[in-house]
Every structure is written in C-alpha cells, then in structure tokens.
C-alpha cells in the first residue's frame, strides 16, 4: 500500500473487497491449465492434492470412494463429537442423565447423537471395506507396502476409538459391552491383566474407566488417528498416487518421451546431501518452479500427453460428491433410526446375553470356543499376517485391477478370512441368545 502513493483513499476503499478476496484466494476461477495448477497449489486445503491425478484414480468403480468415505465419516464424527461434548459429563452419576437430556431437552441433541453413533458404526465398516478394496485390487504391492501398514494401524485405532466411545452413554449396553470387551483383552498372555487394569483404572468398570475411556475417546485417539491419516494421505502422493494397472501408465503412441529431470526417489526424499548436490546442476540448468507438473513419484516436466487430468475441478468435484453422499447417508440414517439407549447401568444385573459391540461379536463368538485362542491368539495372528502381507507378497502383478487372475490365491485366502469373520459376526449378532446359546432369529 505504501508504494502506491498515487492511489486515492476512495479507490482503496472501492478495491477493498477485491483486495481482501484476492489476499485469501490468490487465483481467480481457473480457465487455463496453469490456472488450474495454481489453484491447487495456492489453496491450503487443495494443495494437499496433486495438481494432476490419473484418470484411473477417479474411476468410481475402482476405488468405490471408500477411503474418502472413511475420512469424511471421521470428519463428521469430529464435528458432532465436539458438539456433544458441550453437554456430556463423564461421570457415572450424570452421564446417563445427560443422554436423557440430549433426547429430551437439548435442541437437535438426539439427532447429533444419532449422527455420531451411526457415523461411528459406518466408519468401522468403511475402513474395513477400504482395506478389502485395497487388498482385492492388489494395491498394497511395492511401493505402497508401508501405506498398507499405516492403513492397518488406522483400522485398529478406529476400532479402539469406537470401542472407547461405546462406554460413554453409561447404559446397560455400554457397561456390559465394555465389561466383556476388556475381559477379552485380559486373556492376552503376560500383560493381559495389566492391560485391563490400566484401561479400566480399577478392577471393574466404574467411574475411573469412564473417565479414562472419555479421555482416550475425545483426546488421545483422535490425535493419533489424525496424525496417522495425515501420513497415510501424504504417502499416497509420495507413492505415486493410487495404484493402477501398468497398461494405464503406457503413453499414447504419438506421445513424445517425457523429460525426466531427476530419476530415482533420492531427491524426492532429499535426505542425503550428496544426492541433493548431484541434483543441483540439473535443477539449475532448466529452472522450473515448484509448479512443475507432478506425476508419479518423480518430478517430470513438459506438457506430456498422458492419462492424467487436472485435480481442479475433476478430483475436487469427485471428492465433494463423495462428501455429500456420505453426509446425506448419515443424515438420512440418523433421521430414520434412533441411537439405542438402554437401561441405566445396573452393576448387579447383567443382561443375558451380555454382548460386545457388533464389530467385536466375531471375537466374542471365537472366545466362546476358546478364551485365549479366540480372544487373543487368532486375532493377533490375523493382524500380524495382515501387517506383513505386503512384505511377503512382493511380486508386482495384478496391481490396480479387481480380482486379478494372477492373484487368485492371495485373493482367495483374503476373502476366506473376510467371510469367516463376517459369518462369525453374523452368528454372534443374530444367532446367539441367553447363555450364549444358539437361537434362531426367526
């Protein structure tokens, strides 16, 4: 402002809205490729995305949008969760009363609780389905091994998050589900008893447990989850976007060869000084701004005719649609179904059967056969196997295609694992009655 001495105050005033707008959004709505690129780069929220994405990544039938749905559900959970915190008190004498108040007196209280509850169940399901998608399309293969591991951690944190939230209404459902759930944890060898004790802060579920679960649920786990999500997203870009079949990367026949400025991931990571020095002359020879159009893990330049499209507006539009579909789904479900609120806690009178939350009913079903193997042994083995899958199955075939022929065995094994677990959950949910005896739901 100071160097524009000629500007009259009036003109400054007239230009004020425009200036404020431009100071926030540095680009007008883009009409050229450069504009589209700049739009992505100069917006805080948009610059998390690449400027261009491969067309394959936008194929709804390929991703099913599950990763995004998981993330947006998490977003909804954070928002509704913070709102619910205004009225919730983590105290055994008050928690249930506050639930009644949410249902009775608080405006939109029941609706927000419904949203939070159903979004939480939805997130557990979405994260699990996302994992299935990634496996069945072979997307965990190098270089995406570590992101698969991160994804597994995210699944575990999500489960734990949902589990800790389950206790907070302090009704019979919550109390006995957590009693059962933490008892399953106590079967772990050596540390089981301690884990349970630390988790509950007492030998039984009580005020201490409620407080601990509350802190875990509203502070610790969301922070961990956010961090992991951030790394997960970052790794998607650094691993070259979403997976796709090799033939999708083939260039059109008439395309000129791409000019590679730097090859190899060394500079992308840019940790070693030597590598950076080696790269220096090349970078100096032809100077490109950071807006060099990015594709894959390596920086490439030139208007290369490939199969990618600009993120603005294609990717953003797709994300917005997924977001809105997610929101609409949660809203509709919340409108139609109320979140359960059972009797206030009665420590002396367990419901029969006392069931864990549905996503743990598979576990509970296993536990009914063998406490150690069902509750700890098999789940640990399953998780460990899933964690090391990308390090065992390293042959890069069938990547980016659903149910690729080349991966018949892997897919078969994985589907068996999924179906067995789903069946266990269904049996635990619908076919188990009092005393955990087999009952027919009809």
């Amino acid at each position: 402002m100071s160097n524009q001495t000629t500007t009259s105050p009036w003109k400054t005033l007239v230009a004020l809205p425009e200036n404020i707008w431009r100071s926030i959004f540095r680009n007008p709505l883009p009409s050229s490729d450069l504009g589209r690129a700049s739009t992505s780069f100069t917006n805080f929220f948009l610059h998390l995305h690449p400027v261009k994405v491969h067309r394959n990544s936008l194929k709804a039938t390929f991703t099913l949008g599950l990763g995004l749905i998981s993330f947006f559900l998490f977003f909804i959970l954070v928002v509704t969760g913070i709102l619910l915190m205004f009225y919730y008190v983590p105290s055994t004498t008050q928690a249930y009363d506050r639930m009644l108040d949410l249902r009775g007196t608080v405006a939109f209280g029941i609706f927000l609780r419904n949203m939070h509850r159903w979004a939480a169940h939805g997130m557990v399901a979405a994260v699990f389905l996302h994992m299935c998608r990634v496996f069945l399309t072979g997307s965990y293969k190098p270089p995406r091994e570590f992101n698969w591991v991160l994804g597994m951690l995210l699944l575990l944190v999500t489960l734990f998050m949902s589990f800790t939230g389950y206790l907070l209404p302090w009704d019979q459902l919550a109390f006995w589900a957590i009693t059962v759930g933490t008892s399953i944890a106590s079967y772990a060898p050596l540390v089981g008893k301690d884990v349970k004790f630390i988790l509950l802060g007492d030998s039984t579920v009580g005020q201490e447990a409620l407080l601990r679960f509350y802190v875990l649920h509203v502070a610790v786990l969301p922070a961990v989850l956010s961090l992991l999500v951030a790394i997960h997203f970052w790794r998607i870009r650094k691993d070259g976007g979403l997976s796709r079949p090799a033939e999708e990367d083939a260039l059109p026949a008439d395309a000129p060869a791409p000019v590679e400025v730097i090859s190899g991931p060394a500079v992308v990571m840019a940790t070693s000084a030597a590598a950076a020095a080696a790269a220096q002359p090349v970078l100096q020879k032809r100077q490109y701004g950071i807006q060099g159009l990015v594709r894959g893990p390596f920086t490439k330049v030139g208007n290369v005719p490939d199969r990618s499209v600009f993120a603005w507006p294609n990717l953003f539009m797709a994300e917005l649609v997924v977001f809105l579909i997610t929101v609409a789904g949660v809203l509709l479900v919340s409108l139609l179904f109320n979140a359960p609120l059972e009797e206030p806690v009665n420590v002396m009178h367990p419901p029969n059967p006392a069931k864990a939350p549905w996503y743990f009913l598979g576990l509970q079903e296993q536990v009914s056969y063998s406490a150690f193997w069902g509750g700890v042994g098999i789940p640990t083995i399953e998780v460990l196997l899933l964690l090391i899958v990308p390090y065992i199955d390293r042959k890069i075939v069938g990547v980016g295609r659903w149910f690729a022929q080349e991966r018949l065995l892997a897919n078969f094994l994985f589907l068996t694992f999924v179906i067995v677990n789903v069946i266990l959950i269904i049996v635990g949910t619908f076919f188990r009655g009092p005393n955990w005896e087999f009952v027919s739901p009809w």
């Binding site: 709102l83 927000l112 499209v309 809105l324």
Partner: protein, 161 residues
Amino acid sequence: MKTPVKPALEESGDAMTRRRVLSWLSGFGLFGSLIITALSNLIFIKPRATYGQPNRFSIGKPEDFPPGARVSLDTRRVCIVRDGDKVAAISTTCTHLGCIISVSETGFSCPCHGSRYDQDGNVTGGPAPRALPWFQVSLAPNGEIEVDKDTEIEAGNYLRV
C-alpha cells in the same frame, strides 16, 4: 469421470448454460445446508433447560411474610419486601461485580467493595453503578407468590395481596 474434461473454450453454449445452472443449484443446496447447520449449532449450544434452580419460582403464601418483613433468600438471590399489603422482590446481587449483598438497617450493603443501597435498592454509596433491579412478583393460581427473575420491573411496583 469417464470423459476427459475438455478445455472450456471448446464447449458449446448449451453445455455452458447447463453447467452454470447445475453449479447454481449445487451452490444453493450447499450454502443452504451450511447456513442451517450453523444456525442449528447455535440453537444447540444454547441450553433450553438449566441445571441450577429455575428463575421462576414460588416462595410461599403471602401470610409467610408479615407486613414490614424484609426476608433475604440467599439461595435465590432475592429479597422479599412486604410493606403493608404490598409485596415486592428486589435482587440481592450487587450491580457492581455480582457479590451477594446483605440486608442492613438502612437498606442493603455489599461486603465485597462497600456498595450501599437504600431500602428501595437505589445506590447511596460505593462503586455500584446502578440501582438493584426489581423482579416481577405475581400471585399464582394456587395462592402462592411467584417470583420471575427473568422479568425486571420498574422500582416501586408492588403487588397487592
């Protein structure tokens, strides 16, 4: 996203209008929802029922307050004044910084910073900026006196009982 996005220049006028209409529709839906969400959240965080004692309460029969009585109900923060057959309720929250004032011979006095009020709640000394408010007093159908702390009335307005 099946078709690659064509450069804007190549698009026909028709497609442009359609796109524009759709954009407006989506924009309307989105911003409408956003505004409703914001409003709902504001309504949500404003409590409809509080957990303290209610602001509208009954204090008993008129006979409980003989003529000339000046009874300070500390939990309710209100002083019931009866003058002959007239009853009124005067706040006992100091208008200075919110301490509870006590009834004195000359009216009211605040223990915190020495504000003093006369019998009708007018400031007679100390840092108090305003006179003590009077609350609406009414006779409930069951014959008890009801005080409504949500409604302030002009000083000197008594209820005849």
